[in-house]
Amino acid sequence: MTRRQAWGVFWLLVAALVAWLVFAVWPDWLNAVLISKKAFVSAILNGITLAGLYFLVASGFTLIFGLMRNVNLAHGSLYLLGAYIGYEVANRTGYWLLGVAAGFIVLAAVGVVMQIFVFRRLEGDDLRQTLVSIGISIVAADLMLAVWAGGTYQIAVPEWLDGALTLPVITAVRSNGASVFLTYPLYRLVVLAAAIVIGVGLWLMLNKTRVGMMIRAGVDDRAMLSASGVNVHAVFAIVFAVGAGLAGFAGVVGGSALSVAPGEDIRYLLASLVVVIVGGMGSISGAAIGALLIGLAEQIGLVYFPTYGIVLTFVIMVVALAVRPQGIMGKAR
């Protein structure tokens, strides 16, 4: 048996175990060990849907950082600004979708401005990009605090997305033989679906289209791409716009699922950092795997060892780095 086959068998066993845990009716001893089946399945689902949100934020980050080598530590600020803008637009117009669109479009525009006025001037100078983007995030956080104050906002989800869905997952069997099914908020499943659609779209764009080819070529050899008649600056501005727009989009989506408050910028910056470090820079599938690991770790940690949840995330990062310093899907440099 080759190494690859061995891993295949291993993952198959893991998948079978998870499927059994989710769909079977648990014996009492398992309920005793893992609190309850409902808690377990909810933690898994919460983790996966949270991973969807993390993926949305981190995919923008990995586009900007991993592909274009623009170190933008103000990515969390983009998320938070998108959330605030989405809140204002959705609140005033009454259309949630308009808020989502505004979050994407405004932040894409902000991203283009940042790329042209900041990152283009500091091309190839990682440390100064880092410092400047940190400076921007400090000023942005302070200005957002000035405009929206320290309160917590909740973006209202439209009716057709609200409510709960009954899933075909049996959590318990009543004494009369009737099974109890798990219900789950519809909105969080929609977030997950959106993340999957966007992730597949990004992957196809990068790997199967001409534009994606140009982006990847521009990262490897900018001068050569420029010489073959492509406007490299325009390509990079577009990628930055998409990356920043995704952060804004994620802000509105995340602000509807959870809430909007000062400090969220750092939280999502950290999440993107860890996701991209674990998954590998510039890899969309890596960001997906990283987001899944971190999201699951966070939610499972929350249920089973609340104090040490954050440490679990950290342990995953250290282990991933120890085994593969370039990230799970990263290319060796």
Binding site: I134, D142, V274, T313, V318
Partner: protein, 342 residues
């Protein structure tokens, strides 16, 4: 690539005063005489605080300037020393507090910080450049959240209060003057150690590793071990700063090691300049002055905007901070004097 290796050996013998240079002598006299003119507020809130943060930024300068490793976890290292003082010594939070005397607790705290720093270094030296920044930022944030949620060791959100600076030799070291001199003493010690260390065998090896790790590996040096040891040494300085910080504040909480503070330390080091060990102290003074007085200029709560903008301008204009700015202006000034008279 080229290193000034042989200068010390070939230079003619100088007296220690000449070696020190007039700049250092004037600075030393000014710093020693500062308490004669300064009020208590200027002694501790400006003087002591700047020196403490100068030491923190100095430990970052050592890693970044000589080792090429930019760390955002220096406040985390200092925080470990501060928490160690609270846990090993006395506090009035009714959690832990082993009541060790200061002369036992303080060295242990510094040692714990240095070991923690080496550990952080060991994790992050696998990466380089921007990746080091990200990993140390992730470590700093994780530690912050952990301290906030852990009640058994870190006493959670409220942290520890009621930690007193020691009194010995008939001096209460929390008194403004005494505390200022205490900070000054340790700052000078760290500064001198860095100046000396930069020209030691280890310092030169570290700088050579920064410039060309592959060549140094080929020459048979253990690159990782040297880098981790540099982290250990930087951890000693950051740990000392942490001990002073907890004596200064009288308390330590997750807010002490927050992400904003971690970034402040980087800002201080960069504003001052990473080229020379004096830069961090310069930056600390500028930032502390701004933090203290910006409130009067731009109103109650917007001083972060001002600091951020000043920081942005300095990074944009001069990559080497104030020291770099000075280095650029100096030739112009010299030319001006040559051009005297119409």
């Amino acid at each position: 690539m080229s290193l000034t290796l042989a200068t010390d050996a070939t230079a003619p013998r100088q007296t220690w005063l000449e070696k020190l240079g007039p700049g250092h002598v004037i600075l030393a006299v000014a710093l020693v005489l500062y308490p004669l003119v300064a009020s208590d507020f200027f002694l501790t809130q400006i003087g002591g605080y700047s020196l403490i943060f100068g030491m923190l930024a100095l430990s970052l300068m050592m890693l970044a300037g000589y080792g090429g490793m930019v760390s955002l976890a220096q406040i985390t290292v200092a925080g470990i020393a501060a928490y160690a003082i609270a846990i090993l010594g006395n506090n009035n939070s009714n959690v832990l507090g082993f009541g060790w005397p200061w002369w036992l607790a303080a060295p242990f705290a510094v040692l714990a910080a240095a070991v923690a720093s080496a550990l952080i270094g060991w994790i992050s030296v696998r990466t380089e450049g921007i990746y080091t920044i990200m990993i140390t930022l992730a470590i700093a944030t994780a530690t912050y959240y952990f301290a906030q949620q852990n009640y058994a060791i870190f006493n959670g959100h409220s942290g520890y209060a009621g930690i007193h600076a020691p009194s010995f030799w008939g001096v209460n070291w929390r008194d403004p003057k005494a505390f200022y001199y205490l900070c000054l003493g340790f700052a000078v010690l760290s500064y001198a150690a860095i100046l000396y260390g930069a020209h030691s065998t280890f310092g030169l090896t570290l700088q050579a590793i920064r410039d060309n790790p592959r060549r140094m590996r080929a020459l048979g040096y253990d690159v990782t071990a040297h880098k981790v040891f540099a982290w250990f040494l930087a951890g000693i300085i950051a740990g000392l700063a942490g001990v002073l910080l907890v004596w200064f504040n009288g308390r330590v909480s997750p807010g002490t090691i927050g992400v904003d503070v971690a970034i402040d330390v980087l800002i201080i080091a960069v504003i001052g300049g990473l080229r020379h060990p004096i830069g961090p102290f310069l930056g600390a003074l500028v930032v502390v002055l701004m933090q203290t007085f910006a409130i009067d200029i731009v109103g109650a709560e917007r001083f972060n905007t001002l600091i951020g903008l000043v920081f942005l301008v300095i990074v944009f204009v001069s990559p080497d901070g104030i020291l770099g700015l000075w280095g650029r202006i100096k030739p112009h000034l010299a030319q001006e004097s040559l051009r005297s008279g119409p």
